[in-house]
């Protein structure tokens, strides 16, 4: 994510704002900056940065690219603790000959150099290596221009979201992905309301204070959610507060080019029971979806465990009482019929009376118990 002072935006008609993504004219600058870093291996980081800054292009673009490329740069190793010891010694000796005029300065450096067994020149040169800018670049993981542009664009959109009051995202994504998104949002103390739309769900995300007072305090957190949309089809509408005015920022996966997601991950199961049941389902049905697209129940997201053809299946095993209560609540309000498999130890009358196909099991769920219900969907 870019610091705010490197944000590039453009205002478009009727109170709208957009990130000023890298345009075709600027691709040349991107290549130049990458090139400078590549050539800069063996030079001090500060010198490389300064040479790029003096090149004279838009300082925010340059600053942003440098910011990202720094993380791809390896600097010479410095034993910081030893260096600090030496610096403190220099300061102490210099205080004895205070103020350090040019002549005194030489004396101080010689004295410390002798103590540490270096040359005075080495002490002088090492003194500032406490700062990154003074260290030499020893390695650079060079990106393709396109890759850097995508990284930059994402960082730029995130910087704009730092100032967001709230975000509305329309997404078409898997249950696993939306689960990851909402888990992250919850972890960060955000709140959401979900609606189902013709092609997916719409999430309005902000925080506890938002209902009382306009605030951008959740902006940084909202920005952190953006990379979690990678690979999905999404559209976004955020209200952005800049200089006392509220602007609208709209974007979508069509319009912007962000980094591609890392390779798709294997399904992760909450429990052994689920993994086992999944295997059994697969052995008889071809089309089994693990954590299918999310359903909306009363403003909350509900992601059933499995989908076989058009039939949803939910497994209810042992969990905390609060968890079970919430799950029961959601199932009660769910308008779409679903097959609910409940551990008989939990299956009180309330569970049996849910307006769904409720099947109880002992120890572990068996396919035979539900075969009758899914056979028409299972091809």
């Amino acid at each position: 994510m870019l610091p705010l002072n490197l944000m590039r935006i453009r205002f478009v008609g009727r109170g709208q704002v957009k990130p000023r993504y890298i345009n075709e004219d600027e691709v040349e600058v991107v290549r130049d900056v990458i090139h400078s870093f590549k050539q800069g291996v063996g030079m001090r980081l500060g010198d490389v940065i300064r040479s790029i800054e003096y090149e004279g292009s838009d300082p925010r673009l340059i600053g942003g690219l440098i910011h990202i490329l720094k993380s791809r740069t390896r600097l010479e190793d410095v034993d910081e603790a030893a260096l600090i010891r030496m610096r403190l010694d220099v300061f102490r000796e210099a205080a004895k000959l205070y103020p350090a005029t040019r002549e005194n300065r030489r004396l101080v450096l010689s004295k410390v150099a002798e103590k540490f067994g270096y040359s005075p020149e080495r002490v002088d040169a090492d003194l500032l290596k406490i700062y990154d800018d003074e260290r030499v670049i020893v390695g650079f993981n060079e990106p393709e221009a396109g890759e850097l542009i995508r990284e930059y664009n994402l960082s730029l959109a995130q910087a704009l979201l730092f100032k967001a009051l709230d975000v509305e995202v329309g997404v078409e994504m898997s249950g696993a992905q939306s689960k990851a998104l909402l888990r992250q949002a919850k972890l960060m103390g955000l709140m959401y309301v979900a609606e189902s739309t013709s092609n997916g769900i719409k999430l309005t995300i902000d925080g506890p204070v938002s209902v009382i007072k306009q605030t951008d305090r959740y902006g940084t957190r909202l920005a952190k959610l953006l990379p979690l949309l990678a690979g999905a089809k999404w559209s976004l509408r955020a209200r952005i507060k800049l200089g006392g005015r509220v602007y609208l920022y709209e974007d979508s996966s069509e319009e912007s080019d962000f980094p591609r997601p890392a390779s798709s991950d294997e399904p992760v199961f909450d429990s052994y029971m689920e993994a086992d049941f999944h295997r059994r389902l697969l052995s008889i049905c071809k089309e089994v979806k693990r954590e299918p697209e999310p359903l909306v129940v009363d403003g909350r997201i509900f992601i059933p465990d499995f989908k076989v053809g058009d039939a949803y299946i939910e497994l209810v095993g042992y969990w905390t009482p609060q968890y079970l209560e919430r799950k029961y609540d959601k199932l009660l309000k769910l308008k779409i019929p679903i097959i609910v498999l409940v551990d008989e130890k939990l299956a009180t009358m309330a569970w049996r009376k849910l307006p769904h196909f409720v099947v109880t099991f002992k120890d572990r769920p068996r396919i035979t118990d539900i075969y009758r219900l899914i056979k028409n969907y299972c091809k």
Binding site: Y54, G56, E80, I84, R87, A94, A95, V209, I212
Partner: protein, 442 residues
């Protein structure tokens, strides 16, 4: 029955309708909600109306806070504390160097409840933590950056508190704002708004703000309960000071170079017909630089000229001259430019204390400076406010200051001194456009 719960800087009210102007219905939670700052008032009203309610807002983990040493408040400090104790809410205005921290510790010793202290800089976190541990027998936590430990008394920065108040808020019935003039800004005010603390103390030398937001301090903390001005205090409680402006000129070569660069820049501006009426006009040039080579050259010339003026070697000579004049005094050299700061540090082998300085080094350096093992330090913004180095009496400001508040605060450094006069030097480069730095922020 009504129940009140803490939720991320707000109070959620369940189990019934509450009709108060600051309470909103929240459809997401299917409950009523209000900012935590309203908690004391809300509680008061519910009690007055005889409404039964369960209160789960404050986390009532007990804490031991006992006096360790006698605070020995000075007469005006005692007066300030007593005024504050009447309503346990309000701001104490006192010039830098008169021991505002003591008033704060006095409040903690009197109330003996969990306290959150909010300060502007890391230096001040350390300083408050030291001071509290010295006078009070209790667990003291420091909460900022990577160091996040909570105690019965926790010291944090404004930046950290802005983020963490929604998690920490309900553990601290007393909140102390040091340098409280920072609080009313749009972001930081949320620290006060999202805290349910019924007891609030603000400390500052200069509550007034150019944006008039200090008018909100009574709502965020409480009214000004005590005030003593620099004029009242000078000579009586704090030392007098002198300001001297030192003008330096660029060397001949630098002068030529500077003129050449500025000429290049101005010529382009004239040719391209850009008019500079307001700072944002500078953006036009920046935008043009994306396409035009000439604009890029002009921008580059401007940047180099600016750097030349700011880091002029003759400034270093001026610093040497001043330091020679005060071989036995303690000095702080301020500059906002990290290049210049590195340069001064390197040239005179003086420690630098900036946000870039590693924590271990900063701590050692500050201790050495207090003991007198080093006589001068170079710093940027980090030390600007209220750092306690009792016998600093020379302040050198390189490159002018950006606002009056900073100026006063910087001068404030020099006010804590032994008998004798403090001396403030301001070093500026003449014959350059250093004075009009507004372009830099465009």
């Amino acid at each position: 029955m009504l129940s009140l719960e803490w939720d991320g800087g707000t109070v959620v009210i369940r189990g019934g309708k509450v009709d108060l102007p600051y309470v909103r219905y929240d459809d997401r939670a299917k409950a009523y909600r209000t900012l935590a700052i309203n908690y004391p008032d809300l509680m008061g009203r519910l009690k007055a109306m005889g409404v039964q309610f369960e209160d789960h807002v404050m986390e009532a983990e007990p804490c031991m806070i006992r006096p360790k040493r006698d605070l020995r408040l000075r007469e005006y400090q005692r007066a300030a504390l007593q005024r504050w104790l009447v309503g346990k809410r309000g701001v104490v205005v006192m010039p830098t160097g008169m021991g505002k921290t003591h008033v704060g510790v006095g409040a903690m010793a009197a109330l003996r409840v969990r306290t959150l202290v909010v300060v502007p800089t890391i230096e001040l976190v350390e300083q408050w933590a030291d001071r509290v541990s010295y006078y009070l027998d209790t667990r003291v936590g420091k909460y900022y950056g990577d160091e996040k430990s909570e105690g019965c008394i926790t010291v944090t920065t404004y930046d950290s508190a802005y983020i963490s108040i929604e998690r920490l808020g309900n553990r601290y019935p007393l909140i102390v704002f040091d340098e409280a003039h920072h609080l009313p800004s749009e972001g930081y005010r949320q620290i006060a708004e999202l805290s349910p603390a019924p007891y609030r103390l603000g400390l500052t030398a200069t509550p007034e703000r150019s944006d008039d937001l200090h008018q909100d301090l009574p709502n965020l903390i409480g009214p000004v309960v005590y005030r003593i001005s620099v004029e009242e205090a000078r000579g009586r409680y704090i030392a007098d000071f002198d300001v001297e402006t030192v003008k330096v000129e660029l060397g001949e070569g630098e002068q030529a170079k500077y003129k050449e660069l500025m000429k290049k820049y101005r010529e382009f501006i004239r040719r391209s017909g850009i008019s500079f009426r307001k700072p944002s006009d500078f953006r036009v040039l920046v935008k043009m630089s994306g396409r035009s080579r000439a604009a890029r050259e002009a921008l580059r010339a401007w940047r180099e000229a600016r750097r030349l003026a700011m880091t002029a070697p003759s400034k270093l000579d001026a610093v040497e001259e001043i330091l020679r004049r005060h071989p036995n005094d303690k000095a702080i050299i301020f500059t906002e430019l990290s290049d210049l700061s590195h340069e001064v540090s390197r040239r005179f082998l003086l420690p630098e204390v900036t946000y870039e300085t590693p924590k271990e080094e900063r701590e050692s350096v500050m201790a050495m400076f207090r003991r007198g093992d080093v006589k001068a330090i170079v710093t940027g913004k980090v030390l600007e406010e209220g750092v306690d180095v009792p016998d600093v009496n020379v302040v050198i400001i390189l490159g002018g200051t950006s606002s009056e508040r900073q100026y006063v605060q910087r001068i404030g450094r020099a006010l804590r001194l032994k008998p004798g006069k403090a001396k403030i030097y301001e070093v500026v480069t003449t014959g350059t456009r250093e004075a009009s730095r507004r372009h830099a922020s465009a």
